[in-house]
Amino acid sequence: MKWSEFFVTGEPMIYGAMVSIVLVSLAILVGLTYFKKWGYLWREWLTTVDHKRIGVMYIIAALIMLFRGGIDALMMRTQLAAPEMKFLDAQHYNEVFTTHGVIMILFMAMPFVIGIMNVVIPLQIGARDVAFPRLNAVSFWMFFAGAMLFNISFVIGGSPDAGWSAYFPLASLEFSPTVGNNFYSLALQISGVGTLMTGINFIVTILKMRAPGMKLMRMPMFTWSVLITNVIIVFAFPVLTVALALMMFDRIFGSQFFTMSNGGMDMLWANLFWVWGHPEVYIVVLPAFGIFSDIISTFSKKNLYGYKSMVVSMLAIMLLSFLVWAHHFYTMGAGAMVNGFFSITTMAIAVPTGVKIFNWLFTLRKGKISFTTPMLYAMGFIPIFTIGGVTGVMLAMASADYQYHNTMFLVAHFHYVLIPGTVFGVLAGMHYWFPKIFGFRLNEKLGKSAFWLIIVGFNVAFMPLFFLGLQGMTRRQYTYSESTGFGPLNMIATVGAFVLAIGFVVLVYNFYWSFRHSPRNEGGDPWDARTLEWSTPSPVPVYNFARVPEVHEQDAYWYSKKKNVPLYSGEYESIHMPNNSGQPFILGIVMFLLGFFLVFSWFIPAIIMGVVTVIMLAWRSFERDHGYHISAKEVMATENKLRGDSV
């Protein structure tokens, strides 16, 4: 490794980015010092084990990554707007679409979903925190370390350039000699381990920490979706861990698992990648289904239609999600038998998904629908996602897929699934649960403007891609000639992408506006909602529930409101809480450095970091930390203050 290769050079845009990164970092450091916020930051955020704050940090990180990935997207759309554009060269374009894919899936969609899980799940099941609060903090800092490690590849060492699926042998040292794909394997590995721990944490939390009376079949649909999602995480992520480890050995230690010589098998990588990668799609989309279920039910003032079949259909999707991976490479030549099998399993997923769509539609029936911002996202989701779903069925047909594979048709399809599914889902959830954490709602007018810009921009950006695919335009091609005739539709798509981007700017401006102007004191239940979290005051106190609620039916809070059955009874008692800890944050830094040193094959510092990790784990296992107690008197004082005169 020559030092001249350490920093990415030769690109004016990247120099600009370097300067702005340095300036922003300096501004943050100076600002924190000037306003004397270092202590606050450390005590209240960096060392927190509170699921709500960890959730908020996940969501902030996800929003930042959304903008990073979004800028990648705009760069790609600009390059493709017209034939023979000279905005990006091939290498730069290849890096941009690779980081766009990785960041949007692993560092935007995943943490956004996990952030909402963190904020909501303990509140929805009547628990005071997750089962393992400290582990939860470790999960977050592992994710954050991975995300930062991946992002610095932009200015140090060079970004990965083999696509988000990093197919071998293209991603091998032979064809991708920069450290870019080392960043890929290590950054995904570190954040993936964090995700796996989240999976275990939430399964235990949901199975063991529900309030008395909340049987499995009384859980809110979002809780159900998260339980199922985390089961998928626990089964799928180990595959990614193994695949990435083999990739790291190939690239850094000279093994030959996926290379072209000595018996390496390139298609083994593709299989391992998609055995994780397809369930991953359901990991990011099932929680969104849960969010939509809760929101549709709340804003049509009705219970969810077909609760049982909703649960059964998600279980069916979970099982099927592990049986369809080969549809990502029908064209590998596995023959009609194998492809036929995977076609049928893939199309079978349409059945439970269809059941869900119809149940949502019938939840609306005889309801009293109010179009708030979260409900708008849910209502935007149904028609667009259905297009994504039916084109998915079309892609599932192997013979037809030979014509769609690797084309813009595929790109249009998965954006039609992931944007209305995951992105609308997390945005709906964010608008919906925002008042629970911060005590005030986001402005509805701005929220709705952002929604319309996003939904119109989205359709204008992605509908043309279906046709470009059928015209023979492949994905990942950085340029095209005028004679192909791809120009006009690409221009329309680019315009749509910019409208979409403006929508996201409005969405973020809404945070600023609402922080300053939104009315406070709307009470704990501004939406007149149905589930337990809304029975707490907003913002939620650190202990969540002063007294443990007792659940008698589905939609526990709604029935407590309607039938006047109190959820809470008895005296306040002292509450046992976990202590904050700086260890997860420090472990995050250590893992970041370990990854960074391995990326550049600096083995001695890497070994030192490995040893530090082991010491920290050992230290933790001998540590005695019994937490602390909030006295009954203090709880009563807080509750009276938060609930005002209403109690």
Binding site: G163, S300, G306, G367, V393, A400, Y402, N459
Partner: protein
């Protein structure tokens, strides 16, 4: 809702545009051979089925949103508690199952059709062409004619062509949309793609699988000609083109981009292709003989495949 209607129209207009099919720029729906025809028919059939699904969902959706909005109900209206309906849920499970079964039958049949020699041509001897990719170009070897071309391939019309695909590097995907769907070309296994051009014509072919910097330029022309014109062309190549030597081939493989080239011999003799999937299946449980053969092939490939930056 204005928005809903707008969306609805977009979809309807899109479907109509698609089905009209007369827009010849949609190459996938403008087939010039039996495989592409099968695929185009499958696609249009699936679009019709899916349009039915979309219409049902959209009608229900618009109905629910128009009829049950809060502004249309009185303030004291209290929506009823509804558990769900066994009958309705059964219906919307059964109908999708029926649709999936129909599509499954179509898929299995059409996949079988395009994976094999086109119906009606089973007894005809196919023209075998080895198509191999090396960074950002395509080599076409005609073992029977003993000629080789780069970045263009001429075929006789109305005769089945058996493309045997492999790669001197990253995975590529051989795709001629108007003749039929694509298939991967990989370094460790030969895959087979059966195509046939019904008439004369020039067709765009390309690599559709991202393979690095020059991927966007990795196109070739497929020219389908009458049998006599094809024979004349083969003869012309034999008369005028040079021989392909091993050193020339190696330097060709290393070069990033080249234009069209023709040779009077193939690289198959000195740089043999990897095994086909069938041969690989046969190899299981057999002697070391075959394994050794693969290894030596691999070593040779590796030397050829030194990446140039």
């Amino acid at each position: 809702m204005k928005k809903t209607r707008w969306l609805f129209y977009t979809v309807i207009v899109s479907i109509v545009m698609l089905l009209s099919g007369c827009d010849s720029s949609l190459v996938v729906l403008n087939p010039k051979g039996p495989a592409a025809k099968t695929q185009s028919d499958t696609i249009i059939f699936s679009i019709l089925m899916m349009a039915f699904v979309l219409i049902v969902v959209y009608i229900l959706y618009v109905f629910m949103l128009v009829k049950y909005r809060a502004s249309k109900t009185s303030d004291d209206y209290e929506p009823p508690h509804m558990e769900g309906s066994k009958l309705l849920e059964f219906i919307w499970t059964l109908i999708p199952i029926i649709i999936v079964v129909i599509l499954s039958v179509v898929t299995v049949k059409s996949t079988n059709a395009v994976e094999n020699v086109p119906a009606g041509y089973e007894n005809e001897k196919p023209l075998v062409i080895y198509a191999s990719s090396s960074n950002w170009k395509w080599h076409f070897s005609y073992p029977e004619e003993n000629i080789e071309t780069v970045n263009y391939v001429n075929i006789p019309e109305n005769r089945p062509v058996e493309f045997r695909l492999y790669s001197y590097g990253p995975i590529t995907s051989f795709w001629v949309p108007q003749l039929g769907g694509q298939k991967y070309a990989m370094s460790d296994m030969v895959t087979t793609l059966h195509l046939l051009a019904s008439n004369e014509g020039s067709f765009m072919g390309k690599n559709s699988n991202f393979s690095g910097k020059g991927f966007a330029q990795m196109e070739f022309e497929v020219l389908s000609m009458t049998p006599t014109a094809y024979t004349d062309w083969v003869k012309e190549v034999k008369d005028t083109a040079p021989k392909l030597t091993e050193s020339e081939f190696n330097s060709l493989v290393k070069t990033s981009f080249v234009g069209r080239k023709s040779f009077t011999s193939t690289h198959l003799e000195f740089s043999p292709p990897p095994m086909t999937s069938e041969e690989m299946g046969d190899m299981n449980g057999k002697t070391d003989e075959n394994t050794n053969k693969t290894d030596s092939t691999d070593m040779k490939d590796m030397e050829n495949m030194k990446h140039d930056n």
